[in-house]
């Protein structure tokens, strides 16, 4: 089924990813050079409408890629949810966009094309990249007062398709239609503005243009046609049973109580009054399947019984959101969370931190005061886990 994208699906590891990434970059740089983007004059011409090459190349690329993504995800070979969708921050995107546009016309490069220009021996390209580096550092120095604005208007990873409530291929087709409309308009503007500036409007090869418009239109149309296919999601329904440990569940209840639906599958009479806080019990006249169907998929569904659950109860496997089973059931909860943890006999920083955390959770869920931590004997310092960096 969904085999793409390869890297997030663990088809290869990080070192191979670096090599593949270099090759992708090579293709990117080569095409940018052939598109004429290593030359500041071609880029500046966009803003005086004497040659709208920038718009033609950029919109063709975006239309091609989004129509392709729409088609492949519609066919069920590409997992749309595994793609990284840049998050939306309205204020920073508006202000950042305006400033970057201003910098674009002042330097006549953008960061990517500056690198290609530098590789082509253009010293103005080299200096624009030096400027980008200085600007990045300036942003870091201004971080304190900027942080609030940087995080403002956060909407998360949201696509235009989600905002409009329509499938991805529909918006992709609209992008293709808009791109073709822009191309026709841009060629008319070139015909007006190029002679005014004493230049010849760029020659447009009608055959290439028609082939490209037809190719884009066909990919978009095929993407739309996949909407008529029976939903490919059905085959994904049989989820493997995912488990969560009692301590981890306790942490999640403390950190984000609104993020979970916790369902007690035990017989209410036999189980007695003790249950995990925030639990929904099964009313007498309903089944686990009916309960699961009545819950919105905005939260993670957690199920538990007295002991371990060998399989998901009926109806839980088809819950559209995440489903977790408490490993070891209520018994594990009682021994890991409700009973006071023993201080480590051999205290290392890691064990002491664990004890403190367990002790705090125990206090939180039983109302008991947390036990004082044992004396720390420093033996080894755990190496901090490497964090993934983000960025463009």
């Amino acid at each position: 089924m969904n085999v793409l994208p390869l890297y997030p699906n663990d088809a290869f590891g990080f070192p191979t990813g670096l090599l593949v990434g270099t090759l992708i970059g090579f293709a990117f740089g080569f095409v940018l050079e052939r598109a004429g983007f290593g030359n500041a004059k071609n880029l500046a011409a966009q803003f005086y409408l004497t040659d709208t090459r920038v718009l033609k190349v950029m919109f063709s690329a975006i239309a091609t890629a989004s129509a392709g993504i729409g088609l492949l995800s519609g066919l069920g070979v590409l997992d749309l949810s595994a793609l990284t969708i840049p998050e939306t921050f309205i204020g920073p995107h508006v202000v950042g966009g305006l400033l970057l546009g201003a910098g674009f016309i002042v330097s006549a490069y953008c960061p990517g094309t500056g690198i290609v220009a530098m590789a082509s021996g253009k010293w103005d390209g080299f200096w624009s990249i030096v400027g980008v580096m200085i600007g990045s550092l300036a942003f870091g120095f201004a971080w304190g007062p900027l942080e609030g604005f940087y995080r403002s208007g956060a909407m998360g990873s949201v696509t235009i398709a989600e905002v409009l409530g329509v499938p991805f291929p529909v918006v992709a087709a609209a992008v293709v239609a808009m791109a073709i409309g822009c191309f026709v308009g841009a060629e008319r503007l070139e015909a007006v503005f190029a002679p005014k500036a004493g230049k010849v409007a760029p020659h447009s090869n009608a055959r290439v243009r028609h082939v490209q418009f037809a190719a884009l239109g066909s990919i978009a149309a095929l993407g739309l046609a996949t909407l008529a296919l029976p939903s490919p999601k059905v085959a994904v329904a049989a989820k493997p049973i995912a488990r969560i440990g009692a301590v981890e569940l306790a942490q999640r209840i403390v950190a984000d109580p609104q993020g979970l639906w916790i369902v007690d599958l035990r017989d209410p009479k036999a189980a007695g009054p003790e249950r995990i806080p925030g639990t929904a019990t099964l009313p007498a006249d309903t089944t686990p399947a009916k309960l699961a169907a009545s819950l919105p998929a905005t939260r993670t569904l957690v199920a538990y019984a007295q002991g371990d659950l060998a399989s998901l109860p009926e109806g839980f496997a088809t819950f559209p959101g995440d489903v977790l089973v408490l490993s070891g059931g209520y018994d594990a909860w009682r021994s890991a969370v409700l009973s006071a943890p023993q201080p480590p006999a051999d205290p290392t920083p890691t064990l002491v931190a664990q004890f403190r955390m367990r002790s705090a959770l125990n206090g939180y869920f039983t109302g008991a005061a947390a036990a004082p931590p044992p004396k720390l004997v420093v033996r080894a310092v755990a190496a901090p886990a490497p964090k993934k960096g983000g960025g463009c």
């Binding site: 997030p8 670096l18 500041a40 949201v158």
Partner: protein, 173 residues
């Protein structure tokens, strides 16, 4: 060895289609599109770290890039940008466009052109960090996956460019 003769650029629609295939390929293989500015940022922060390691690590923004257990090369986009440079180099050489020069409008001095290139670069470096990406990481990449913020960003890039263009017109006469 005689350098290759100069070749024309590709038709912009064909080049755009090819660029779209590269972008699509990156999504299919890596799950993300393309990037440029973050590598420049990493390089700049790395240089600052060499000069003043303590001060750089103490900065809350830079500390995401440098510090104990962190490497400037842990992001595949750094290698991708190395590829962009190599691809640009091979592309320029094979098309006979590899030439040491300062591109500028008629009557514009080299110094003036370089000052504009640096000033525009500073604006872009700052803006790309504020917007979490540039024309590659936001406009192309986010545009292809229809990210709302990326499309707003892209429209604002064009708006910003057209607003400022009349004031720097004589640089390109």
């Amino acid at each position: 060895m005689q350098p290759p003769v100069e070749r024309p650029y590709w038709n912009p629609y064909a080049a755009g289609f090819a660029l779209g295939l590269v972008l699509l390929g990156s999504f299919l293989v890596m799950g993300f599109g393309l990037g440029s500015s973050s590598a420049a940022t990493r390089l700049a922060v790395g240089a600052a770290h060499l000069v003043a390691p303590k001060a750089t690590e103490a900065n809350a923004y830079f500390s995401q890039y440098v510090g104990p257990g962190k490497s400037l090369f842990e992001d595949w986009l750094v290698f991708e940008v190395l590829g962009v440079f190599l691809g640009g180099l091979v592309g320029a050489y094979s098309a006979g466009r590899l030439k040491s020069e300062v591109l500028r409008g008629e009557g514009v001095s080299k110094g003036r052109r370089i000052a504009f290139a640096i000033a525009g670069g500073v604006l872009m470096g700052f803006a790309a960090r504020l917007a979490r990406g540039c024309t590659s990481g936001q406009a192309l990449t986010g545009g292809a996956v229809l990210s709302l913020g990326s499309w707003i960003f892209m429209m604002c890039v064009f708006a910003g460019g057209y607003l400022v263009a009349p004031f720097v017109r004589k640089e390109w006469r």
